[in-house]
């Protein structure tokens, strides 16, 4: 069962990484980043479950990680709204070709 | 091994899940937003209520039962108010209720 969750984490990780790299929309990038971190948390928690007895240290790490993720997301969203006010677009454009 | 409480809890849980099924069916098949809200609140209120009751019957501790009661009351409040808010806003935004066209 733990092997299944490890593979699941791997699949989600790959999907999120791909989306993070290829989606131009910044809101989507932020969601991809969130899902990416969730996949990493899934790795860690499954590892904790595999240990005998249950290892609570990854749990503490993940708890810290969740809070850091939400603060990153909030700052990212605030920046995104500012960017939209400034440029009228949700994508990052290179400054030289337009 | 199985006590009466366990059996009662299981029966209540099954009944609750049936309400969830009905709610999902309604959400899928009903024609407009207002009727879908109607279907959804059945799942929220009765389905979860029955499952909470089933869990409370099995827990055998008053504190846990009270906590489960609190869960149910909170979901009732949120579902009822949420349904009302969504319906009112939808109405104000001009989404017209479905009417049979003859």
């Amino acid at each position: 069962m733990t092997a299944f969750y490890l593979i699941l984490a791997g699949v989600i990780l790959a999907m999120a990484f791909h989306a993070l790299m290829t989606r131009p929309n910044l809101l989507r990038k932020l969601m991809a980043l969130n899902i990416f971190t969730s996949a990493v948390f899934l790795f860690l928690v499954t590892l904790a479950r595999m240990a005998e007895p249950l290892d609570p240290i990854p749990h503490a790490m993940v708890l810290t990680g969740i809070v850091v993720t939400v603060s990153t997301t909030a700052v990212g969203l605030a920046l995104l709204v500012r960017l939209y006010r400034r440029s009228g677009s949700l994508t990052l454009q290179s400054t030289d070709d337009d | 091994m199985m006590g009466a409480a366990d059996i009662a809890g299981a029966v209540l849980a099954v009944a609750g899940v049936l309400f969830f099924l009905a709610g999902t069916l309604g959400l899928l098949r009903f024609p407009d937003i207002y009727t879908r809200i109607h279907a959804l609140t059945k799942a929220d209120n009765l389905g979860l209520g029955l499952i909470c009751l089933g869990a409370a019957v099995q827990s055998g501790s008053l504190m846990t039962a009270l906590k489960l009661l609190l869960v149910w009351i909170l979901v009732l409040l949120a579902a009822a108010t949420g349904a009302s808010l969504i319906a009112q806003t939808a109405h104000r935004r001009g989404i017209r209720p479905w009417a049979r066209q003859e």
Partner: protein, 95 residues
């Protein structure tokens, strides 16, 4: 007994899977939000059933926090997230 509960949890998961169709089809944002609300309640139910099966009353607290926070999602949607104006809402509300 455990098997019965796992079947019930499986049925509830099936509910979520079917509810995804409503998210996909919409047509209005409110319909999608309704599906999300259903998911929230179903999740609470799943966690309650898992708590019974695993005999860990700790998870009732998780259900409690979920029940509290379900209000936040709906209110945030109605006051801030509802797209304005809704596309195609003027012609009719059906699909």
């Amino acid at each position: 007994m455990t098997t019965l509960y796992f079947i019930l949890v499986g049925v509830l998961m099936g509910n979520i899977a079917v509810g995804l169709i409503r998210i996909l089809r919409g047509p209005t944002a409110a319909d999608r939000m309704l599906a999300a609300e259903l998911f929230g309640t179903v999740t609470v139910a799943i966690i309650l059933l898992l708590a019974i099966v695993m005999e860990k009353p700790v998870y009732y607290d998780v259900a409690l926090v979920f029940a509290l926070l379900s209000a936040l999602a709906v209110v945030a949607f109605v006051t801030r997230g509802w797209p304005n104006p809704e596309p195609g809402e003027q012609d009719d509300g059906r699909r």
